[in-house]
Amino acid sequence: MATQRLQYERPLIQRVNTGILNKFGTRTEYAPFTHIDGVSVKSLISEFGSPLFVLSEKNIREKYQEANRAFKTRYPKVQFAWSYKTNYINAVCNIFHQEGSWAEVVSGFEYQKALKNGVPGNKIIFNGPDKTDEEITLAIQNKSPLHIDHLDELYRVTEIATELNIRPEVAIRVNMDTGIYPMWDRFGFNYENGQAWDAINKIILSDKLELTGLHCHIGTFMLSPSAYAVAASKMSDLAIGVLQKHNIKIKYIDMGGGFASRNTLKGAYLQGVDTSPSFDQFAEAICTAILNAGFHKDDLPLLILETGRALVDEAGYLLGSVISNKRLSDGRRATIMDFGVNVLFTAFWYDHKITPAQEFSHYTEDTVMYGPLCMNIDVVRETCTLPPLKKGDHVVVHTVGAYNMTQWMQFISLRPPVILIDRNGKPQIIRKRETIQSIEMEEILPAQLKDFKL
């Protein structure tokens, strides 16, 4: 065995202190993370460049199966619908569709994407507060479950259905107090003040629409399963009420999403890995509440789940490289990376776990991690304990699979490629690196502006 040369590390002088006040001492994030699903970070960057998003197909499928198992062993009728806004790269969507997920979309654009991916119309759930007439018409014709968000939409859907002479299947979105703050009451009809019943009565009495489901989505990054238990029992209560009052069997209860991933929210005392509830805990809360609500055993509603973040977040990695190190005026160390908040949008609310991708000694230092943008907001981590990194060193940002590949900005620089490591450990490009053409493709330059002399 050839002896390995020790890496050069710059010397550092450190004041002896006890670290940030924390019962676990200073956070240690310095185990090097060199391989993703058996593929080395180094080879990925050398082949596809830096920065680079990497997704693990294996992890996505495992997570899905974990969630699926948690619910299906507790409830007889379960259906997942992939939340497109979380990550709508077609390859990702199709992994979920292969696993059996329907599609859940919140815009006409996403709806078109789901259709293009080949999802049958009646398996695309159309949510969201903004649906145009054309989109509503298309959804009705495709028999897609329409989830109505507000009264104006209810009226418009009724009018369009009357014009089309089709009786579409609809659901209403319900918001409610589940004991958490902030209460999400801007979407849907409120349960406690009777708006939900008002909408239900309007739908049933108009007789133009068929009320088949109830939908809620109580929040995002929920760390408390008990809130779902409250929501599920309120939803069941509504469904049973509809049966008693109107003799209509609600076919499904859609509990939306919002399950926390294992990320750490900014300001959280403990790490997300330790605090985020498991799928089993969410499933236990939801299924028990519905089973105990009093439905007849043969008329249990279908339980739909639109989990996005918790299914895909952990499958995503962002690989990047150090551009430079510098010392700030107050003496703090700063590291400038080749990715910033334009690419890693979720850096605004998570303290992402960042690990070096190569071996190093045990010395660490608190560092501010900046992105490459020429903008003051571009801070990836305000403070982060890392070993001394030098220019060209690689790092891995963890748990970035959700929302980054949909909320990223083409701002100042172009967006990086996305790689999927398939189940055989083979990296495949699923979204190419943007080029100047991809941005200018949609631009139109008026004739009078074509030429100039400087």
């Binding site: 499928r61 495992e62 299906k72 507790r74």
Partner: protein, 731 residues
């Protein structure tokens, strides 16, 4: 009035013809006519047989006996035999007519009595009443001088010469002694002797009849006779006895009935024939000595005795293996065999009360029937279930807490409707790896499902059982949640079936119902089965739409219109009927076809068809031979048809000859994944099924069916074989 007359005439016709075919255990009409014809080779004797039958019919009808045995000819065939024999023995005259009437009537009475007497012992009637009748007559006429013996047979050659001169005589000689080997002459004469027509011509008629009736019966008759013939030669008994007495037919009848009629034909039954024929020969010789002094012939006494003896012995085989008696008589060895084989593959594990997997979702069998860890001795029939992830772990690492285990806290469900008969609760859950050997079953629920059927679910979480003893539960009700109490080192469900209501009762073998089993990533559907250790199983999700579409109330009338692609249309009307035993069937009066069906909460199946194989009902039988009430795409399976109901060609007849030794032809029902508009709340389902025929495993026949089911039930069936589709116009 005329309707009633027609009805009675029909009853009489059925009675007459069935009485003839009953002689050979058949209900084949064609065969019946051949037998009738062959009995008239001696017209006088044939006529006497027919008259004796009329006497029996009048007797049965006049005494208002049950109609079903009359129609089947059960009360008739013994009287027929008595008549035939009397016609041969006695000279015409008023005294003879008197005696014929008395003899036939007496035989008939004995038939009625013995039928019900033997029915209770589960034994067949055979020819015992005939023996009683004919012996009584033969013994009694010794003191009745007026009755004279028939002398026709004695001076046969003279008579023939007188009638037709030398030519006819030569012809007669040719018929009686055709230039064929002795063996065949004796064989054919023995066949004729069954009808007391000791000549080759009758033998040929009967041989042809047997061949048409059943290839197995034909080969058996040859086998039995050959064995007897060569046994006589071997033992030095001389074949003279076979030549000049009626004993040869005993071998033939015994071999048909033991080789294929009362016993399911197989190489074993053929072996039985080879072994029993010498026994029969021995019996014949012994009885001959006894009866010589009485001066009455043996007739079929050896046959009757030996058959009853063997059936009695074989009844005591309860294992379902080895030589099998026919359970439900189909009146043809081939049908008996094909039905038996079909029932063995289709219904071997079938039980009336379905016990479903006691959980939701996918679970893995961690210990099966006869498991090596704890499913031992009297408790060997049981299953342990755990939940595993795709890495085959039962827990999320590190697995040191009960809550790390996927199975822990999951609902445990009632496998079927039942009553809670015993509950054990309050046993603390063990830490991971610990076991409690005192209260080894842990927290347990015992349910009673009717009859002697109890199920027991153990190792539940302490305090999780929401039930009281005496409470009734429905299938799928929660009995508690999975825990780790009792002899359980990690959370799992223990499920066993027992015949007594106690915790700790010994177990019985009982299958699990309607589940999907995953092996090597492939799902297979099982109606009833015993999942093995390591396999993943889950219940099927039943669809109410299918349940409703196949739940036909008795009395339902269906109107179907069939149209082929050339525009020919025909109408069929079906009724749902139920017989006195509670068997349900679809009846098509136009084609006189019946398709017998059964169903439960999870599945519908046809189990028999009789009637016209060109009818729409026949295709419906094939199209929906078995339909599980689920639209899951994992459900697809192949199930065998009884061969005789699908294949009816010359190759099948060749197969018939070889069928006791193996099948090279197969007919299968294929259930392909169904299509639906919405897997959770379907409003339209298209079932796809097919019938395939295989010859040496090569496909030689295939026809497809599409059955469309909507909210109002089954409404369209397209039939590829007929190039058309049937539409339900009214129900």
């Amino acid at each position: 009035m005329s309707a009633q007359l027609t009805y009675r005439f029909r009853l009489l016709a059925d009675f007459l013809l069935n009485s003839y075919s009953q002689l050979f255990f058949s209900d084949n009409r064609c065969f019946a006519w051949l037998l009738l014809l062959s009995s008239f080779v001696d017209p006088w004797s044939g006529l006497c047989g027919l008259i004796a039958l009329l006497v029996a019919f009048l007797g049965a009808w006049g005494l208002k006996l049950p109609e079903s045995p009359i129609r089947k000819g059960v009360y008739g065939y013994n009287a027929l035999l008595t008549g035939l024999v009397m016609g041969i023995y006695f000279e015409n005259g008023p005294e003879f007519w008197m005696m014929l009437f008395l003899g036939a009537f007496f035989t008939f009475l004995i038939s009625v009595w013995l039928t019900s007497l033997l029915f209770k012992a589960n034994l067949p009637l055979l020819g015992l009443p005939f023996l009683a009748g004919i012996w009584t007559i033969l013994l009694s006429v010794r003191s009745f001088d007026a009755l004279t013996l028939n002398e026709r047979g004695l001076f046969m050659l003279n008579e023939v010469y007188r009638l037709g001169g030398n030519n006819l005589l030569q012809f007669y000689e040719f018929i009686q002694y055709p230039p064929i080997p002795d063996f065949w002459i004796v064989f054919l004469k023995s066949l004729g002797a069954i009808f007391f027509q000791y000549n080759v011509l009758s033998g040929i008629f009967i041989a042809a009849g047997i061949l048409i009736y059943s290839r197995i019966a034909f080969s058996l008759s040859l086998l039995g006779f050959t064995t007897g013939y060569y046994f006589y030669q071997f033992i030095g008994g001389g074949t003279a006895e076979l030549y000049y007495s009626f004993v040869g037919f005993n071998f033939i009848l015994a071999s048909i009935s033991l080789g294929g009629f009362f016993v399911v034909p197989s190489f074993r039954s053929y072996g039985l024939v080879v072994i029993l024929t010498p026994v029969m020969a021995m019996l014949v010789s012994a009885l001959n000595y006894l009866f010589k002094d009485l001066q009455i012939p043996l007739y079929s006494l050896p046959f009757n005795f030996l058959i009853l003896l063997m059936i009695y012995v074989l009844r005591l085989n309860f294992t379902g293996k080895g030589i099998q008696l026919v359970q439900q008589q189909a009146f043809q060895p081939e049908k008996n065999l094909y039905r038996h084989l079909n029932e063995q593959t289709r219904f071997a594990h079938h039980v009336a009360i379905s016990l479903h997997p006691p959980f939701w979702g996918e679970w893995v069998v961690s210990q099966d029937d006869h498991g090596k860890i704890t499913h031992l001795g009297e408790w060997r029939h049981a299953w342990d279930f755990v939940v595993k992830d795709d890495k085959a772990l039962t827990y999320k690492p590190p697995g040191t807490q009960l809550t790390d285990y996927y199975a822990y806290n999951l609902p445990v469900l009632s496998p079927a409707a039942g009553t809670v008969v015993e509950i054990m609760d309050g046993v603390e859950d063990n830490p991971v790896g610990g076991v409690e050997l005192q209260k080894n079953w842990g927290n347990t629920v015992v349910l009673w499902h009717g009859n002697l059927l109890y199920s027991k679910l153990s190792h539940l979480k302490t305090g999780s059982i929401p039930l009281k003893v005496g409470q009734t539960v429905q299938k799928g009700d929660t009995l508690g949640v999975c825990g780790n109490s009792g002899r359980s080192p990690e959370p799992h469900i223990h499920f066993q079936v027992q015949a007594t209501p106690y915790i700790g009762s010994r177990t019985i073998q009982y299958p699990l119902a309607y589940y999907l089993e995953k092996k090597n990533k492939e799902w297979t559907f099982h109606s009833f089965g015993y999942p093995k250790e390591g396999s993943t199983i889950r219940s099927i999700n039943t669809s109410r739409l299918l349940q409703q579409a196949f739940n036909w109330p008795i009395g339902k009338v269906w109107l179907w219109e069939f149209k082929d692609n050339k525009g020919h249309a025909s109408m069929y009307r079906w009724e749902v009927l139920c017989d006195e035993w509670g068997n349900r069937y679809l009846w098509c009066p136009r084609t006189k076809s019946a398709a017998w069906f059964n169903l439960n909460d999870s599945c519908f199946w046809f189990y028999h068809f009789s009637g016209d194989k060109n009818s729409l009902l026949y295709h419906f039988y094939r199209a929906t031979y078995k339909v599980p009430f689920s639209v899951e795409k994992e459900i697809q399976f192949v199930e065998e048809f009884p061969l005789h109901l699908i294949c009816n060609n010359l190759t099948r007849y060749v197969q018939d000859f070889l069928s006791p030794f193996g099948l090279f032809m197969k007919a299968d029902y294929g259930y392909l994944p169904s299509k639906t508009d919405d897997p959770h709340h379907p409003t339209k389902i298209t079932l796809q099924t097919q019938t395939t025929g295989r010859l040496f495993n090569k496909l030689f026949y295939k026809s497809n069916y599409h059955i469309e089911v909507g909210t109002k039930g089954i409404y369209r069936i397209s039939i590829s074989e007929l190039n058309g589709e049937a539409v339900c116009i009214e129900d």
